[in-house]
């Protein structure tokens, strides 16, 4: 799997800088490309699953995504997400209306976003779906842990329009 580690220093709200490390997978060859099952016709609205235990944050991210012409499904915890995606159920996995991206909070009661990420990456059908981890805390070890496990991006909350622009760019890239 080819990958380029790219460092971005981004100014956040005039209160200093935060580092976003994201790995850009080259789509189109080897195991890095999006599986046929996940392929979506160009022009369709991408379907994003948002997982967060905070209702306020779910509403915020949902609005951000909908304003960016995305179809959104929300889940209030990782367990709901697992049920929705039918993870672990070989016959039904991937049969849910195609999810093109999963955005999950890191800190959640019960199963964390990190554990959810691992479950998704273990699934033969869903492992190609880009997973983005969000967190209100900027902890470098946490960030690298998630990226090592295969998260597409790590983003600091609260999400902004510029963050969603980046997400969409990744989504489009994965489609082509």
């Amino acid at each position: 799997m080819k990958s380029q580690l790219s460092n971005h220093l981004t100014k956040k709200g005039g209160q200093g800088y935060y580092l976003t490390l994201h790995r850009m997978l080259s789509c189109g060859g080897g195991s890095g490309h999006c599986s046929k099952d996940m392929a979506v016709e160009l022009g369709d609205e991408p379907h994003v699953l948002v997982v967060d235990d905070s209702l306020i944050d779910r509403k915020l991210v949902e609005r951000l995504l909908k304003n960016s012409s995305c179809k959104v499904t929300t889940a209030e915890n990782a367990l709901r997400a697992v049920e929705y995606l039918r993870l672990g159920n070989d016959t039904l996995e991937g049969t849910v209306s195609e999810v093109n991206m999963i955005i999950t909070d890191y800190c959640m009661p019960g199963m964390t976003g990190y554990e959810l990420l691992k479950k998704i990456k273990e699934s033969s059908v869903l492992k190609e779906v880009p997973v983005v981890i969000m967190s209100s805390e900027n902890i470098p070890t946490r960030i690298s842990q998630c990226l090592e496990e295969g998260a597409k991006m790590f983003m600091l909350k609260p999400l902004k329009r510029s963050d969603v622009k980046q997400l969409k760019w990744h989504l489009m890239k994965c489609r082509n």
Partner: protein
Amino acid sequence: MDLVQLQRQFVDYKTSLYHEGFLDEQFTQLQELQDENNPDFVVEVVSLFFEDSERLLNELARALEQQNIDYKRIDAHVHQLKGSSSSIGAQRVQKVCIAFRNYCEEQNVEGCLKCLQQVRHEYSLVKTKLESLFQVRLPCRREIFFLSKKVLP
């Protein structure tokens, strides 16, 4: 009071909230998410924040009254409050939460109690100010009649 004056008062009041640190850039982001298709988005989210905060503040008070204080639990509540205040741009509340979490880590009950008092105070301040802000928002035709009868802050 005519519409132009109302508009000006709204802008001035909002600006002062930013200058005094009650609100930060995230509140602007919230407003930018609102449009004709979602005209009540800001009010909805802020109302959720009020509900959530009141619940958390009660939980925190209860938790700090216990014989054996569960600092992990307190930290979890403060973490939530910090998150939601950050999400709507309630900067002063968020700042107190950061200090609060430090005291939790130190298992410092005095510090925690002090912070609870502070966060309650900051919360009630921002709540009052946001409520005023929504009263002063550009009213639809119906509301102009009622607003002109009210004393605006």
